[in-house]
C-alpha cells in the first residue's frame, strides 16, 4: 500500500516537476525495457511459427468433424472452408531445433533466445477490439495500455525522452487503435508518444530558421518574459509548470534528434538492419531506433507493423510482410545481445490473432488467403529473463485450437509485468473509488517461460 501512495504522486515523464524519477519495482526485475513488435492484421501462425505437416497432407479437404468439434463457436472460425496447406516450408534451427518457417530465415537464427508460445487464444475475431485486447487487456478499448501501466508503475529513466513511445510502419489494413497506446483512466502523461517516422518526437525538428544557439537565446528570452509575467501573478502553479515545460521540451528536442539520428551507427550495422534495402528500410530503421531508445532508458517501445491481414493471396502477402520484418527483427535481437542489452530488454512479437488453417471463401491457387483465428495462434518473447529455445503450448494437428497449455493475452501481460518486477496485483490506481489493476480481467504469469522458473 505504501507503493500505492507513492504512485499517486507526480513522477513520470511529462510532469515537469520531477521528470526523471523512477519508482522501485516490487521485486528484482529481469527486464528494464520492453519492445513490443505488434504485427497488426494477424500473421498466419501455421505459416510462420507453428508448422503443420498434417495440414499439408490435407490441402483442399474439408475440416474433419473431429477437429470442427474442438473449435469454439466464434464467428468466421473457418471450419466450413477447405483446408489450405501452408505454401511455406519449415526447418529446424539452433540447438533447440525449433522449427521455423522459411519466411523467417533471419529471426530463426535466434530461435535459441526465443520462447515461442503456440497456444495463445481468445474469442475476439475482429481487428480493432482484438488489438485493444492484445495491448490493453480489454476488447472495449476502455482500459489503459500496458505501456501506460508500466510507465505509471515504474516511471522512466529516460531523462529527456518520453517513457513510452509508439512507432508505426506499413499503415495499410486495419487502422491503429488509439487505446493501444492511450492512458485510459490513468493520467494523460502516461500515454504513449507517437514518434513520427520522419520527425521522431512530434514537433521536435527545429525549423531551419534556427540554430541551436538561436533556440537557446529564444528560450532565455521566453523565460525572462514569463518570469516577469509570473511575478505579477503570484501563486499560479499552472504558469510555473508551463515555464518548466519549456526547459524539458528543449532538452527533449536537443536529445531526440541525436537519438533518432541513425547515421552515427556503423554502415555494417545499418546494413544488418536492412536500412539500405527498400523492403526492409522502414521497419529496419524503427528496430534500430528501438535499440537506441532502450539505451536511453525508454521504458516501453511499441512498434506497430501493419498489413498482415491476408484474406486473399496470403502467399505473396506473407512473403512481403516477412521480408520487411524478418531481417530487422533478427538484427534487433543480435544487436541487443551483442551489447548485453538483451538480458534486460524484453522483446514481444505477435498480432491480435493468427489466421485460420482453412482458406477463406472459394479462391484458388495463390489467390487463397486465410480468415482471422483468435481461437489459436502464436506469439513469442525473447530476452529480459525469458528462457529461449523452448516452445510452450501446442495447437492441434491442423492448427485450429490449443491442445496444450492454452494461454491468453492476459497471461502474456502478467508475464511482461513480472519480468519488469511488477506484481500485477499490487500495481494499483484508484479510479472512481475502485482499485484498478492492469490485469483486472485475469492473467497468470507463465512461469515456465522465465529463466528463473
Amino acid at each position: 500500500m505504501a507503493l500505492n501512495l507513492l504512485l499517486q504522486q507526480d513522477h513520470a515523464w511529462g510532469s515537469p516537476s520531477s521528470s526523471s524519477a523512477t519508482l522501485k519495482p516490487h521485486f528484482p526485475p529481469t527486464a528494464k525495457s520492453v519492445i513490443f513488435l505488434f504485427m497488426s492484421g494477424g500473421p498466419g501462425h501455421v505459416d510462420t511459427w507453428d508448422p503443420k505437416p498434417q495440414l499439408s497432407k490435407m490441402d483442399g479437404e474439408p475440416v474433419p468433424d473431429s477437429i470442427v468439434a474442438n473449435v469454439p463457436n466464434i464467428p468466421r472460425s473457418g471450419v466450413n472452408s477447405k483446408l489450405m496447406a501452408s505454401p511455406f516450408g519449415f526447418q529446424k534451427y539452433g540447438q533447440s531445433g525449433i522449427e521455423v518457417s522459411e519466411l523467417l530465415p533471419h529471426t530463426a537464427q535466434h530461435v535459441d533466445d526465443i520462447c515461442v508460445f503456440r497456444s495463445l487464444n481468445h474469442r475476439i475475431p475482429v481487428h480493432g477490439p482484438g488489438e485493444c485486447l492484445t495491448l490493453t487487456g480489454s476488447g472495449l478499448g476502455d482500459r489503459p495500455s500496458m505501456g501506460s501501466w508500466v510507465t505509471y508503475g515504474l516511471g522512466s529513466p529516460a531523462q529527456n525522452l518520453p517513457g513510452f513511445v509508439m512507432l508505426s510502419s506499413q499503415e495499410t489494413g486495419p487502422a491503429a487503435q488509439r487505446p493501444g497506446w492511450a492512458s485510459g483512466f490513468l493520467p494523460a502523461r502516461y500515454q504513449g508518444t507517437v514518434l513520427d517516422n520522419q520527425q521522431g518526437i512530434p514537433y521536435s525538428e527545429m525549423p531551419p530558421l534556427y540554430s541551436e544557439r538561436d533556440r537557446r537565446k529564444q528560450l532565455d528570452f521566453i523565460n525572462w518574459m514569463n518570469e516577469r509575467h509570473l511575478e505579477e501573478q503570484t501563486q499560479n502553479s499552472e504558469l510555473l509548470a508551463r515555464i518548466e515545460s519549456y526547459e524539458l521540451g528543449f532538452r527533449m528536442q536537443m536529445e531526440a534528434p541525436e537519438v533518432l539520428d541513425l547515421s552515427t551507427e556503423s554502415a555494417h550495422l545499418q546494413k544488418a538492419y536492412g536500412i539500405h534495402e527498400k523492403a526492409t528500410a522502414a521497419f529496419g530503421r524503427q528496430c534500430l531506433l528501438a535499440r537506441r531508445l532502450v539505451e536511453q532508458g525508454v521504458r516501453f517501445i511499441q512498434l506497430r507493423n501493419g498489413g498482415w491481414d491476408a484474406h486473399g493471396a496470403l502467399k505473396s502477402n506473407h512473403i512481403s510482410r516477412c521480408k520487411a520484418t524478418d531481417q530487422p527483427v533478427a538484427a534487433l535481437l543480435a544487436d541487443l545481445k551483442q551489447r548485453g542489452l538483451l538480458d534486460e530488454t524484453l522483446v514481444v512479437w505477435g498480432g491480435e490473432f493468427g489466421r485460420t488453417p482453412t482458406t477463406e471463401g472459394s479462391r484458388k491457387g495463390d489467390s487463397r488467403g486465410r480468415d482471422h483465428s483468435p481461437a489459436g495462434y502464436t506469439m513469442w518473447l525473447a530476452g529480459g529473463g525469458i528462457q529461449g529455445g523452448q516452445v510452450i503450448g501446442a495447437t492441434d494437428e491442423l492448427g485450429f485450437v490449443p491442445v496444450e497449455r492454452p494461454l491468453s493475452p492476459h497471461d502474456l501481460h502478467a508475464t511482461i509485468l513480472h519480468t519488469l518486477g511488477i506484481d500485477q496485483h499490487q500495481l494499483i490506481y484508484l479510479h472512481n473509488n475502485r482499485q484498478e489493476i492492469p490485469t483486472v480481467l485475469g492473467g497468470e504469469v507463465i512461469h515456465e517461460a522465465l529463466k528463473s522458473g
Binding site: V71, P72, R178, Y203, E205, Q233, M252, R405, G442, E444
Partner: protein
C-alpha cells in the same frame, strides 16, 4: 425416462465388468450408473501403471501424478475418510489429473467428488487456502494454471463480499470471474460436492457458461444449489479432469480426495456419492407447513419483514436497490423486476430468495434462514393477494430536499454596506466576500479588459484597431457598448457553440473502430452557431434539438437541430442489432441527462441510483422518449445539395476513400442522395414529409418504420437488453416534477416543454452555470454536469438562482445572461495577488481576483491567425480537411472533426475526444506543447509572415519593431525593461538583411510562445 436413457450404459458397464467393487449389485440396478467414476479403491491404486491408450471406466489411461509433488494412495483412520492424499506445496501444483475416454461437449455435465481438508494444525491464524477440481480441454502440466475460461470448483480465500478473508467454497471460470459462497471450509469435515456445468446457449461448439454447486447435497436440494455463476465464456469441451493446489496451500496442508464422478444427471452423481444411503427419492419433498388462514399484513407480515428485511431493504436508498417497505416496489415498479405477483406464489423471486440454498442468492444473507412456518406465511400472503396496510407503510411521495431539485425563486439582491453595485452580480459576490472577509480587486486596466473580453467571449484577440478604438472612447458607457458589440459579433456564436459541441460530444464520424465519416454532420455545428448568434431563446433551442423532426411546419433548421440526438457514436462491428440499438440509446439518454439536467443518469441503467433519487424506472422512462427513432441521414426539404466532388474535400483522402468503399459494399451511392443532414428521426412521431436515407457504416443499424412503430420500452433488468422487465411509457425523473398522464402533442415535445418551463429546477441553473464557467474557467457549481446530491454545492447559491431567474424571465435569452456576466466587476477586475485574501480563499473560489486560465486549443490557434491578420472570418459551411488548412485558414471550429483524426492543436491542448460529454476542459501542461508552439511549421509560418509585415513597416529600427510586435501580439506596449531585453534578443551581430529578418522572426515567434499570449489576461 432417466433409467431408460442410461440403460445401455449400465449394460455396457456390466459387461465390461467395470463396476466399482464397493457397489452392491442391488444398488446398481436401482440407481443409474455414473458415466465416469473412480472410488480410488486399492485396485486402482495410483502406483499401478495404466497405459495411456487403455480405456478404463470411462477414462483413457491412468492417473497422471505431478513429478513435483504427487498425490499418494494412503488410506488412514477414520476408515471412511477418502484414501488419496494431496499435499500442499506452497505453489501451483496439479498432483492428480486424468484424461477422459472421450471429449465431453454436452450441454450439461455433473461432476461430484468427496474430500476432507486437513490444514496445517500448527497454523495459528487464518491460513489462506486454494484447492480446486478443474475440468479442461487440455492436460496442462504439473504447474499449469487451469485458469482462462476453465471451470474450477473448490476452496479459495474470498477477496471480496461478506466472506472476504475467509476460506470458502467457490466457483470460477478463471481468476477474474469468481462466485464466492458464504460456506466456510471446516477442517476435518467430509464434504461431498456436486457441480453442474452447462451451456446457456446449447450446442457442441458453444461455451460452457454456467456452473452451479451443491455442498453436501440432499435430494430435496436438487433445485436449490448453494452457489451459481453464469454468463461466462468458458471452454466448450472437457477432456481432462484434475485437482490443483495453489500458492496458498502450504506443505503442511493435506487434502484427502475420493469418489470422483462425472455424470449426465444430478441423481447419478448423488447416488454415487451416497451409495450406502437408502434411496433418496423416497424422501418427502413437500413443504411441511401450509398456511390456510387469512393473513393480516399488519399482524403477520410486517413484523417479519421488519425484523428480517428492512435493515437493507427499506428507506430511500436501500443498499441493495430493492425495497420491501413499499408495495409498488414489491410489484417491481422502479426496477422492472417484480418480486412478488399477488395471487401467484409459484416462480416468485421473493420466495425464491428466502428459500434458496445458494449463498449468492439466499436472504437474509449471513444468518439463519426464515423458519418453514414464516415461509409458509409469506407464501400465503402472496397467494392471498399481497395484503398491505397503507397507513403503516404508505406509498412514499417522490421528493428530495436537495437544493438543485427545488424550484428556482428569485433571491433579493443583497444590500452591502456603503457600496453601490451597478451590476447585481457584484452585489451577490460582494455579499459573500463580506461574510468571509474578502475584498475584490480593482477593475483591470482597459487594455486588459478588451483583450480578456475578446478572448473569452469570442475566442479571438482584438485587433490593434479595435483596441485603439476602445481606448479612445472615454465615455462611461464605452465598456458596456464594447460588450454589446462583441456579443453581436458572429464570432461570439462560434465561441459559445464550441462549448455546446463539447457537451454534445459532437464529431463528424461514427466513432469506434471504423470511424466512418458522417459527411453532413457539419450542418448541426452551423445550426448551433447560428442559434447563438441569433440569440435564440434557450428553451426553443432545446425544443428544436429534442423534437426538431416533429415540429410543424417542418423546417430544415429544426431537422438539422436533431443532430443533438444524433451525435452518439455507433459501432459498425456490432452484429447483435438489439445491442447496437440499445448502446446508442444509452448514449443518448446519458448525454441528454448530463448536458441538460446535470444528472448522472447512467448509474440507473442497471439498478436504482445509489445516492440520487433516480430509479431504474426513471432511466427507462427517459429512454422511452428516444426509443422510437433512430439517427441517420435525414432528407432536407429546402436546401441545396453541394456537388458530390466537393464532399471529398471535407475529409482526409484516406477516410473519404474508406467511406466510399464501405458505401459500395452496401450498394448505396451517397452521391445520388438529395440534400440531407445527419440527424435523428422518428417515423412514428416525426413529420411524414421527412425521409430517412441509408447510412454508410460497416454494419449499419437497420431502419424499419414498422419496427419502430412496434417498439415498446421495458425496464431492462440489470441493464441487460435480453432481460426486459415491466413496460414503461416516456417520462422524466419523477423527483423533478409530476408527469402528466398524457404527454402532448408528442412525448418528446412535452419533454422539451417541461425542460423549458418556469418550474423546471435544473435547466436554467445548469445553463447559467455553464456560461459562468465559460468565462471564469470555473462554475458557481464546480461540477457543471453534476447537480445531483454528490455534485459540488454552489459557491454562491443566491447568485446562481438570480442568474437562472434572469434567464427565464428574459425569454431565456442567453445573451442577456452573457451581458450581465461580462459587464460585472467580478469579470472586469484585475488578477492582482493579495496575500490576505489568498490566506482566506487560496482557490479564489469567491473571485477576489480575476482567475487566470489558459486559452482553449481553438483560441490558441485562432489567435495566431488574428495576429498575422490572416484569419478567414467566414462563418459556417462544410468542414476543412487537414490538407486544406493552410489554404483556408478558417477558425479551428471549422476544421474537420473525424473522431479519430481530430486537429493536432486540439489533441495537443486538451480538446475533447468527442466520445463522452465534456463539461469542462482540463488544462494539462506537458513538454510536447512547447515543442508544438516552437517547431510546428504552422506556427513558424505565422511568425515569418508577421516578421515580413513588421519588417516592412519598421525597417531595421529595432525599437520600432519591438513597439509594433508587442502591440500586435500582446495588445500592449512594452515596459522599458522589456524594451531593453527585447533589444538584446534582436541583436543578431550580423548586419545582413536576411539574418535581421530571421532574428525578428525568432523574436516574434517567442512572443507567440509566452504565457501571456496563451493565458487570458
Amino acid at each position: 425416462m432417466k433409467l431408460l436413457n442410461s440403460l445401455p450404459r449400465i449394460l455396457l458397464s456390466c459387461l465390461l465388468g467395470l463396476v466399482g467393487p464397493t457397489l452392491p449389485l442391488a444398488e446398481l440396478l436401482a440407481a443409474p450408473f455414473p458415466v465416469v467414476s473412480d472410488r480410488f479403491a486399492p485396485s486402482t491404486e495410483l502406483a499401478v501403471e495404466i497405459l495411456a491408450t487403455e480405456l478404463v471406466d470411462g477414462w483413457r489411461g491412468g492417473w497422471k501424478l505431478s513429478n513435483f509433488s504427487p498425490a499418494a494412495y494412503d488410506p488412514a483412520e477414520p476408515a471412511d475418510w477418502p484414501p488419496v492424499v494431496i499435499r500442499g506445496t506452497g505453489q501451483r501444483n496439479n498432483p492428480l489429473r486424468r484424461q477422459l475416454s472421450r471429449v465431453y461437449s454436452e450441454d450439461e455435465l455433473f461432476v461430484g467428488f468427496r474430500f476432507v481438508y486437513q490444514p496445517n494444525p500448527l497454523a495459528t491464524k487464518q491460513d489462506p487456502e486454494f484447492f480446486v477440481l478443474w475440468l479442461d480441454r487440455t492436460e496442462g502440466s504439473d504447474h499449469a494454471v487451469h485458469n482462462f475460461g476453465v471451470p474450477n470448483i473448490g476452496i479459495h480465500q474470498a477477496d471480496r463480499g461478506v466472506s472476504k478473508g475467509r476460506n470458502v467454497f467457490m466457483l470460477r471460470f478463471g481468476s477474474g470471474q469468481t462466485a464466492w459462497s458464504q460456506h466456510e471450509l471446516e477442517p476435518g469435515k467430509t464434504y461431498r460436492l456436486i457441480a453442474r456445468l452447462s451451456k446457456e446457449t446449447p450446442g457442441e461448439r458453444n461455451d460452457y457458461s454456467q456452473m452451479e454447486l451443491w455442498i453436501n447435497p440432499e435430494p430435496e436440494s436438487r433445485e436449490q444449489p448453494n452457489l451459481k455463476i453464469n454468463r461466462q465464456a468458458g471452454v466448450h469441451q472437457i477432456h481432462w479432469i484434475g485437482f490443483a493446489t495453489g500458492a496458498k496451500t502450504e506443505a503442511e496442508d493435506r487434502i484427502r480426495v475420493g469418489d470422483l464422478v462425472l455424470s449426465s444427471s444430478w441423481e447419478e452423481a448423488y447416488q454415487f456419492l451416497y451409495a450406502t444411503r437408502p434411496n433418496a427419492n423416497d424422501k418427502q419433498q413437500k413443504p411441511k407447513f401450509a398456511w390456510t388462514e387469512t393473513v393480516s399484513f399488519k399482524r403477520d407480515i410486517y413484523p417479519l419483514l421488519q425484523e428480517n428485511c428492512f435493515e437493507c431493504h427499506a428507506g430511500d436508498f436501500p443498499d441493495s436497490g430493492y425495497r420491501l417497505d413499499v408495495r409498488s416496489e414489491l410489484l417491481g415498479h422502479s426496477t422492472g423486476h417484480a418480486l412478488a405477483v399477488p395471487g401467484d406464489s409459484r416462480n416468485n423471486p421473493l420466495l425464491h430468495v428466502l428459500t434458496s440454498n445458494s449463498d449468492t442468492e439466499r436472504m437474509p444473507p449471513d444468518r439463519e434462514s426464515l423458519s418453514e412456518q414464516q415461509i409458509a406465511l409469506i407464501r400465503a400472503w402472496i397467494d392471498q393477494g399481497l395484503d398491505w396496510d397503507d397507513k403503516l407503510l404508505p406509498e412514499p411521495r417522490v421528493e428530495s430536499q436537495h437544493w438543485a431539485f427545488q424550484r428556482v425563486e428569485r433571491p433579493e439582491v443583497p444590500q452591502t454596506d456603503g457600496i453601490a453595485h451597478q451590476n447585481p452580480i457584484d452585489a451577490f459576490v460582494a455579499a459573500r466576500q463580506q461574510e468571509l472577509g474578502l475584498t475584490s480587486s480593482e477593475t483591470a486596466d482597459r487594455r486588459t479588459q478588451i483583450r480578456r473580453l475578446y478572448l473569452s467571449a469570442i475566442g479571438l484577440p482584438p485587433t490593434e484597431s479595435e483596441t485603439e478604438q476602445f481606448l479612445k472612447d472615454q465615455s462611461p458607457e464605452a465598456y458596456a457598448r464594447l460588450v454589446d458589440n462583441v456579443l453581436a459579433s458572429p464570432h461570439a456564436g462560434e465561441r459559445t457553440a464550441r462549448m455546446w459541441l463539447d457537451l454534445v460530444r459532437w464529431g463528424e464520424s461514427e466513432g469506434h473502430q471504423h470511424d466512418i465519416p458522417r459527411p453532413f454532420a457539419w450542418r448541426y455545428r452551423d445550426y448551433v452557431i447560428n442559434s447563438f448568434n441569433s440569440d435564440k431563446p434557450y428553451d426553443q433551442f432545446l425544443h428544436e434539438q429534442l423534437a426538431g423532426d416533429e415540429l410543424q411546419p417542418t423546417t430544415d433548421e429544426a431537422v438539422i437541430a436533431t443532430g443533438f440526438l444524433a451525435a452518439a457514436r455507433i459501432s459498425g462491428n456490432q452484429m447483435d442489432k438489439g445491442l447496437q440499438r440499445s448502446d446508442v440509446l444509452f448514449d443518448i439518454v446519458d448525454n441528454t441527462a448530463s448536458a441538460l439536467l446535470g444528472l448522472t443518469m447512467e448509474c440507473a441503467q442497471c439498478h436504482n441510483h445509489k445516492f440520487e433519487p433516480i430509479t431504474q424506472r426513471d432511466y427507462y422512462r427517459f429512454y422511452a422518449f428516444f426509443s422510437r427513432g433512430q439517427m441517420g441521414n435525414i432528407r432536407l426539404l429546402n436546401t441545396e445539395n453541394p456537388a458530390a466532388q466537393e464532399i471529398q474535400e471535407w475529409f482526409t483522402k484516406g477516410s473519404y476513400k474508406f467511406y466510399l468503399s464501405e458505401a459500395r459494399k452496401l450498394k448505396i451511392d451517397p452521391a445520388e442522395y438529395p440534400a440531407h443532414t445527419w440527424g435523428y428521426y422518428s417515423p412514428v412521431t416525426g413529420s411524414q414529409d421527412l425521409e430517412y436515407l441509408p447510412v454508410v457504416n460497416r454494419s449499419p443499424l437497420p431502419y424499419s418504420p414498422e419496427f419502430l412503430k412496434r417498439v415498446e420500452t421495458h425496464i431492462l433488468i440489470r441493464g441487460d437488453v435480453r432481460s426486459p422487465g415491466l413496460r414503461v411509457e416516456p417520462g422524466w425523473p419523477a423527483v423533478l416534477g409530476t408527469i402528466p398522464s398524457e404527454l402532448v402533442p408528442t412525448p418528446r415535445q412535452a419533454l422539451a416543454e417541461w425542460l423549458g418551463s418556469r418550474d423546471n429546477p435544473l435547466v436554467a441553473r445548469i445553463w447559467v452555470n455553464r456560461l459562468w464557467q465559460m468565462y471564469f474557467g470555473h462554475g458557481i457549481v464546480a461540477t457543471s454536469s453534476d447537480f445531483g446530491t454528490h455534485g459540488s454545492p454552489p459557491s454562491n447559491p443566491e447568485l446562481l438562482d438570480w442568474l437562472a431567474v434572469e434567464l427565464m424571465e428574459n425569454s431565456w435569452s442567453t445573451r442577456h445572461v452573457q451581458r450581465l456576466i461580462l459587464t460585472s466587476n467580478a469579470y472586469r477586475q484585475s488578477a492582482t495577488f493579495n496575500a490576505e485574501n489568498y490566506a482566506l480563499d487560496p482557490e479564489n473560489i469567491h473571485l477576489w481576483r480575476w482567475p487566470q486560465h489558459r486559452l482553449q486549443a481553438e483560441a490558441i490557434r485562432d489567435s495566431l491567425l488574428v495576429v498575422t491578420g490572416e484569419l478567414n472570418r467566414k462563418v459556417g459551411g462544410p468542414s476543412v480537411a487537414p490538407h486544406h488548412d493552410e489554404q483556408e485558414l478558417r477558425r479551428t471550429i471549422y476544421l474537420s472533426q473525424r473522431r479519430s483524426e481530430l486537429p493536432d492543436v486540439m489533441r495537443m491542448f486538451d480538446g475533447p475526444e468527442a466520445l463522452r460529454s465534456c463539461s469542462r476542459r482540463e488544462t494539462s501542461t506537458v513538454a510536447l506543447q512547447p515543442l508544438y508552439l516552437l517547431n510546428n511549421p504552422f506556427v513558424v509560418k505565422r511568425a515569418t509572415l508577421l516578421a515580413d509585415q513588421i519588417g516592412d513597416k519598421a525597417g531595421s529600427d529595432h525599437r520600432r519593431q519591438i513597439q509594433l510586435a508587442f502591440s500586435r501580439v500582446l495588445g500592449r506596449a512594452p515596459t522599458p525593461s522589456e524594451v531593453k531585453r527585447s533589444l538584446a534578443m534582436l541583436d543578431s551581430h550580423a548586419a545582413d538583411a536576411e539574418s535581421e529578418r530571421r532574428t525578428l522572426t525568432q523574436f516574434l515567434h517567442s512572443l507567440m510562445n509566452l504565457n501571456e499570449f496563451v493565458y487570458l489576461p
